[in-house]
């Protein structure tokens, strides 16, 4: 039971917003940027997306990746720093397409990125039409500060799991923490269960 903060009223939300907002989140119309270090800028000619550890390791160049079937999706996103943004529009390749190409029986994945960022996810959260490698935002190329040229998009988890500047996945038998997870953030990160930090 939370103590009442005397004199605090806050801004009430529209009822429709409340149903779409996970606990402890507020709605923003901006698109804030959060990263632990500088934004990398690397040549597309050297870009690849790789899946390591599957039965058949696989790597796509940027032109090969662009030739894969892509989808446009509109989703709500939720950052652990408490902002949520509704109806964001992305275009990208479903992880189902990518993982089917390698064959896998590993339950966990570690996403790795330019700049050294990593984050861990269960493979079950990357499959079944729930996750994409997105290269377009709101009809245009994905800006570098938002993770371009391509980022993971896993909107049902807190947005730090949607790794910016993603370059591939490492499939694994055991779940090991990525970057923020080693600094006390939750291993899974479900916004509807408010799994912000370790132990939530």
């Amino acid at each position: 039971m939370s103590p009442i903060s005397r004199g605090f009223h806050g801004r009430r939300r529209e009822a429709a917003d409340s149903a779409r907002l996970p606990p402890g989140q507020y709605l923003t119309h901006d698109f804030p940027v959060l990263s632990a270090g500088p934004t990398p800028h690397n040549a597309l000619a050297k870009w690849t997306f790789s899946i390591e550890g599957g039965r058949e390791p696989k790597s796509w160049t940027w032109p090969e990746f662009q030739a894969l079937p892509a989808e446009t999706v509109t989703v709500d996103i939720h950052c652990v720093t408490r902002w949520s943004k509704f109806d964001t529009s992305w275009r990208g390749v479903s992880l189902d397409v990518l993982l089917d190409a390698v064959g896998y029986d590993h339950p966990y994945a570690l996403a790795f990125c330019d700049g050294g960022y990593t984050t861990n996810l269960p493979v079950a959260d990357l499959t079944g039409g729930k996750a994409w490698v997105a290269f377009s935002y709101d009809g245009g190329p994905l800006p570098a500060e938002h993770g371009g040229p391509a980022r993971l998009l896993v909107p049902h988890l807190y947005f730090w799991k949607s790794a910016k500047w993603v370059r591939g996945l490492r499939l694994r038998d055991v779940d090991k923490p990525g970057f923020w997870e080693t600094y006390g953030y939750n291993m899974y990160g479900d916004p509807w269960r408010e799994q912000r930090y370790a132990g939530d």
């Binding site: 806050g10 940027v33 970057f179």
Partner: protein, 210 residues
């Protein structure tokens, strides 16, 4: 609450009498070992900062969680020299680092580059006007400045960083905190000067009531 490290933040949760809640994160302003303190910039269109800065009185209740964050922190063992770059209230976690360094008697050399809109917007004006030995404070005022101002008067750019930042060869560790546009520009500028990306730690806040 467990002891904190220099650079960490807290989560504050307010609950209205009908159960409505709002939560925000605030950087810790005090050094490890000092009583816990935060510094709150009041955003007039904010939801939590006007309450904390106008309404809150001793005896009022709120929920506090933390300390949180383990990357944007400085420990003496990490050494230096340190380049601290702050935009606006991004000074707060860097002030915790400066106080920690002073309390420890650390000799690690520090350069602080601090960008504010105007002189009245400068947080910790008095403290920063009397820096500890080994700490250089360089300020820029981007919108307006006093007539006798001798510091910079523009947004931080590559030329300013080249003048102020430690040369890349010194192996400095950089902490950059502020609004997104400030952090993007400073972090990219430092990488342009040859700082390895892994030596530039950033903390950003959007203009959304953080």
């Amino acid at each position: 609450m467990a002891g904190h490290r220099a650079g960490q933040h807290l989560d504050i949760r307010l609950t209205a009498d009908d159960g409505y809640r709002a939560e925000r994160s605030y950087s810790i302003a005090s050094a490890p070992g000092e009583p816990l303190a935060i510094t709150v910039e009041r955003l007039e269109d904010g939801e939590v900062s006007p309450y904390l800065t106008r309404e809150l009185r001793p005896g009022d209740k709120m929920e506090v969680r933390g300390p949180i964050g383990g990357y944007f922190v400085w420990e003496p063992a990490m050494g230096g020299p340190l380049l601290l770059a702050a935009g606006g209230s991004g000074i707060v976690p860097l002030r915790a680092i400066l106080r920690y360094r002073a309390n420890l008697g650390s000799q690690v050399p520090v350069r602080l580059l601090y960008s504010s809109r105007s002189w009245p917007d400068v947080i910790y004006r008095d403290e920063l006007s009397r820096p500890e030995a080994g700490v250089a404070v360089i300020q820029t005022l981007t919108r307006s400045h006093p007539d006798d101002w001798t510091g910079y008067t523009r947004r931080v750019d590559a030329a300013m960083l080249a003048e102020v930042a430690w040369p890349a060869a010194d192996g400095a560790l950089a902490y950059v905190c502020g609004p997104t546009s400030f952090v993007e520009s400073v972090a990219a500028g430092l990488v342009g000067l040859g700082y390895p990306a892994g030596r530039v730690r950033t903390e950003r806040f959007g203009a959304t009531g953080q």
